[in-house]
C-alpha cells in the first residue's frame, strides 16, 4: 500500500522501532499534503571512476585495493556544483539519512523535471525494509550537455510502501552508510560456490577436453597458464 504524505508524517512521529526517519528535512515542501512521497536532496559526496586505472571489472578476480585506485571520492561543498558530463556515470547519495521500519519499503525514483534533461537518478531503486543510511544514487547524464548538479537540489523522491507483514533481515553491507558506497560485487559465499562449481566442472570435463579446447568460463589466470 502506497503511503500518503499524511500517513508518512504519522509514521515519522511513532516511537522507535516503528518510526520512519528521513532527516534532515530542510523545508516544508519536501513533504507536501496531497502527494505520495518525500522529495530528497542531492548529497555532497560522489564517487567517480577513473577509466584509465583499471582495464575491466572482473568480480571474481579484482582485488579490493585495485578498486580504490579506480574509484575517486569527490566532496562538493554546498554552493558548488558537481559537473556530470554527457554519458558520464557517477555515484551520488541523498543528503537525507533514511531509516525504514521493518514493515515499510521504499522506492527512490527520479523527478520528471530532471528526467527531461536526460538525468537518470537511480537504477537499483528498491529500498529494503529495515534499511538505514543515505541512499546511493546511480547518476548518469543521457543528455547532450553537461549538467551542473548542486548538492542540496531536490532531485529525487522517495515513495514509501507498507508491506503486509514485517520483514526482518540482517543488515546489509551498506547499513548506516553516510555517502555513496561501492559494493563487494560478489560476496564470500557466492565466490566460494562459484569457485567450487568451476573446479567441479573442470574435473568432470577433463577426460573430454584433453584433446579439445579448454572449457569456457574459467578464470582468467587459469586461461593464461593453460
Amino acid at each position: 500500500m502506497l503511503l500518503s504524505a499524511k500517513e508518512i508524517r504519522r509514521r515519522m512521529s511513532l516511537p522507535f522501532p516503528d518510526r520512519l526517519v528521513v532527516t534532515p528535512l530542510l523545508a516544508d515542501h519536501q513533504l507536501r499534503d496531497g502527494e505520495a512521497g518525500i522529495d530528497v536532496r542531492l548529497g555532497q559526496d560522489f564517487i567517480v571512476a577513473e577509466r584509465a586505472a583499471l582495464d575491466r571489472i572482473d568480480p571474481l578476480n579484482i582485488p579490493p585495493q585495485h578498486l580504490t585506485g579506480y574509484l575517486r571520492r569527490v566532496r562538493v561543498p554546498i554552493g558548488d556544483a558537481f559537473v556530470l558530463h554527457p554519458r558520464q556515470f557517477a555515484l551520488g547519495a541523498t543528503l537525507e539519512y533514511c531509516r525504514l521500519p521493518y514493515d515499510l519499503a521504499a522506492d527512490v525514483i527520479g523527478r520528471s523535471r530532471w528526467a527531461r534533461v536526460g538525468l537518470v537518478i537511480a537504477m537499483a531503486t528498491f529500498v529494503q525494509p529495515g534499511y538505514a543510511g543515505c541512499l546511493t544514487l546511480e547518476l548518469q547524464n543521457l543528455g547532450d550537455l553537461p549538467l551542473d548538479l548542486y548538492p542540496g537540489l531536490p532531485i529525487a523522491q522517495l515513495v514509501v510502501y507498507e508491506s503486509m507483514r514485517a520483514v526482518r533481515r540482517r543488515p546489509s553491507q551498506f547499513h548506516c552508510s553516510i555517502g555513496p558506497e561501492f559494493p563487494d560485487l560478489v560476496d564470500r559465499s557466492d565466490r566460494l560456490a562459484l569457485e567450487s562449481f568451476q573446479n567441479e566442472f573442470t574435473r568432470l570435463s577433463a577426460p573430454w577436453t584433453q584433446q579439445a579446447d579448454p572449457p569456457r568460463g574459467r578464470r582468467r589466470g587459469t586461461r593464461r597458464t593453460g
Binding site: 508524517r9 515519522m12 512521529s13 522507535f16 522501532p17 518510526r19 526517519v21 532527516t23 534532515p24 528535512l25 530542510l26 523545508a27 516544508d28 519536501q30 513533504l31 571520492r73 566532496r75 561543498p77 554546498i78 554552493g79 558548488d80 543528503l95 539519512y97 531509516r99 538505514a132 543515505c134 542540496g152 540482517r170 543488515p171 547499513h175 548506516c176 552508510s177 553516510i178
Partner: protein, 475 residues
C-alpha cells in the same frame, strides 16, 4: 552584559565541529601521513615551502608535492588574503573549515593538525619545528636535518594514529589544546569575570614555595653544617622547580576545564581512555586532579552524578580516582605531593573561573545557552541526550530531536558527541548485537558505523542550522 571581542573569541571556538568535519574529509581521503591544514601564519607558510623543497628530491616527496599542489593554489590564495589582513574578502569557495576557528584567534594564532602518530602529539607545542621534523622524517623514511625552523609561538598541535582518523570522539582532545592557545593568547584576560579567582593560584604558588622552603630548609641547614655547598644551590633549584611546576599545572587544569566547557563530558572520558590516571610530572598534574577539575566543571554546568549515562559509567572510575588520592605519591620527587595538595585546594576555583566566565556570555552566537539547553538539569531525566542515544541505538543519525517530544532543534555538537560516548559506554553491546557483530572484526565495523552516524549527525545538524535556522519540518 555587554560582550566584547574577547568574549566572542571565547565562544566562537565552538565551531570546533567544522574542524572535525575537515579532519574526516582530509584524513580519510588522503594517503599521506602528513596533514597540514588551516595554517594562518607566514612563518608556517615558509615551513610549507621548506617541506615542498625537500619533497621534490625524493620519490615519496614528489607524490606529496603533487597532493599538496592539488589544493596548493587555493591554500596559498587563502593565506594571501589572511596575511594582507583581508579576511573578510575571502571568497566562499576558499573558506577553510578552520576559518571560523582561526579568525577570532588571529593575530598570531595557529593550529597545526596532522595525521600520523608521533611523540609529542596532543600538545600545545612550543617547538613545533622539532615535531614537524620528526614527522617529515617519518614520511620520507630518512633522516632530515634542514626541514623546519622553530616556530616561536605556541600552537595547538594534534595528531592522530592512522587507525583513529575517523574517531570523532577522540577529536575532543582538541578542546584541551585550544584551551592552551586561549590562555597563551589572552594573557591579559583580566577583563574576564572571575579572573581574580585564577590569580589565587599565585597565592597557592607562594604558599607552596613557603612550605617547600620549610620542609627542605632543615635538609639544607644540615647540609650547610656539613659544609656541602651544593645543597644550597639545590635548595634554590627546588623552589624554582616548584614554582614552575605549579604554573604549568595550572595551565593544564585550565585547558581541561575549557575542554569541558566546549564539549561536555566527552573530554573527561577521552582523557581516561588516552591517559588513564597518570602520575604527576613537571608538565602535567596527576590524573586524578585533572578529573576533579573536569567533574567540578560538569557539576557547575548542571550534571548530576548519578542520573546520567556518562557519569554513571564514570562512577566506578571515581572510586579509582579517590583511591589514587589516598595512595602515597608514586614519583620519587618529594616536591610533587606538596604541589598536589596546594593545587587540589584550588581546583574548584579554576572550574569556577572557566564556567563562571561562560555563564556571562549567553547572548553571543553559539552561546552557552545553546549548550545549556541540552544540558539543563531539567532535561537530564528524559532529556535531549537520551533522545539522541535512542536514535543511535536505532541506527539513526543524532542530528535533531523530535519537536513532538519538546526538545530543541537541532542538537549541538556537544550533545551529539556526548550521546556518542553515552552509547559507546552504556549501550555498546546492544548496538553491536543489532548489527550482528560477534567477532572482533564485526565490532570494528560497528565502531566505524557509529562514527559514521556521529559525523553525519554533526553535518546534518550544522546544515539544518545554516539552512533553516531551526525552522525544521513540523511533524
Amino acid at each position: 552584559m555587554a560582550i566584547d571581542d574577547k568574549d566572542r573569541t571565547f565562544f566562537k571556538l565552538k565551531s570546533l565541529h567544522q574542524l572535525v568535519l575537515s579532519l574526516r574529509r582530509h584524513c580519510s581521503h588522503s594517503a599521506s601521513s602528513l596533514l597540514l591544514w588551516g595554517i594562518v601564519d607566514q612563518s608556517v607558510r615558509r615551513l610549507i615551502r621548506d617541506v615542498e623543497r625537500l619533497d621534490a628530491s625524493t620519490v615519496a616527496g614528489a607524490d606529496l608535492v603533487r597532493r599538496l599542489a592539488e589544493r596548493g593554489d587555493n591554500l596559498h590564495l587563502y593565506l594571501g588574503f589572511l596575511e594582507a589582513g583581508e579576511a573578510n574578502r575571502i571568497p566562499n569557495a576558499l573558506v577553510s573549515p578552520l576559518h571560523a576557528i582561526m579568525q577570532p584567534l588571529a593575530p598570531g594564532s595557529r593550529v597545526v593538525v596532522w595525521c600520523g602518530w608521533i611523540p609529542g602529539n596532543y600538545s600545545a607545542e612550543p617547538k613545533v619545528g622539532e615535531c614537524l621534523k620528526r614527522t617529515v622524517e617519518d614520511v620520507f623514511r630518512r633522516r632530515t636535518h634542514h626541514v623546519a625552523r622553530a616556530v616561536p609561538d605556541v600552537l595547538a598541535v594534534l595528531s592522530f594514529p592512522a587507525a583513529e582518523r575517523d574517531n570523532v570522539l577522540l577529536h575532543s582532545a582538541l578542546g584541551h589544546e585550544l584551551g592552551h592557545v586561549l590562555l597563551v593568547h589572552n594573557k591579559d584576560v583580566d577583563k574576564y569575570p572571575g579572573r581574580t579567582d585564577l590569580k589565587l593560584d599565585e597565592q597557592a604558588l607562594r604558599a607552596a614555595a613557603e612550605r617547600i622552603d620549610a620542609e627542605t630548609g632543615a635538609i639544607s641547614a644540615d647540609a650547610k653544617v656539613s659544609g656541602n655547598i651544593f645543597s644550597e644551590r639545590m635548595y634554590r633549584q627546588v623552589s624554582a622547580f616548584a614554582a614552575k611546576t605549579l604554573a604549568r599545572w595550572r595551565d593544564e587544569l585550565f585547558a581541561d576545564a575549557y575542554s569541558v566547557y566546549l564539549l561536555g563530558p566527552a573530554p573527561v572520558l577521552a582523557l581516561y581512555d588516552l591517559a588513564g590516571l597518570p602520575g604527576p610530572s613537571p608538565t602535567h598534574p596527576p590524573g586524578y586532579l585533572r578529573f576533579l577539575v573536569m567533574l567540578e566543571c560538569l557539576r557547575l554546568s548542571g550534571f548530576a552524578r548519578e542520573d546520567d549515562n556518562e557519569l554513571g559509567w564514570l562512577a566506578p572510575k571515581l572510586a579509582e580516582i579517590r583511591k589514587a588520592c589516598d595512595a602515597p605519591p608514586g614519583p620519587s620527587n618529594p616536591v610533587f605531593p606538596i604541589i598536589e595538595e596546594c593545587v587540589s585546594q584550588h581546583t574548584c576555583r579554576i572550574a569556577d573561573y572557566v564556567m563562571g566566565a561562560s555563564r556571562d556570555a549567553s547572548a553571543a552566537p553559539y552561546t552557552y545557552a545553546d549548550w545549556a539547553r541540552c544540558y539543563a538539569p531539567t532535561q537530564l531525566a528524559s532529556g535531549t541526550r537520551n533522545c539522541l542515544v535512542d536514535r543511535l541505538l536505532n541506527y539513526v543519525i543524532p542530528d535533531c530531536n523530535e519537536a513532538a517530544d519538546g526538545h530543541a532543534l537541532p542538537a549541538s555538537l556537544a550533545s551529539i558527541l556526548n550521546s556518542g560516548w553515552a552509547l559507546f559506554y552504556g549501550h555498546w553491546d546492544s548496538f553491536c548485537k543489532g548489527l550482528g557483530a560477534a567477532s572482533l572484526q564485526g565490532k570494528h565495523r560497528a565502531r566505524q558505523r557509529l562514527f559514521n552516524l556521529l559525523l553525519k549527525g554533526i553535518e546534518s545538524s550544522d546544515l539544518s542550522q545554516r539552512w533553516g535556522r531551526g525552522d525544521a519540518v513540523k511533524r
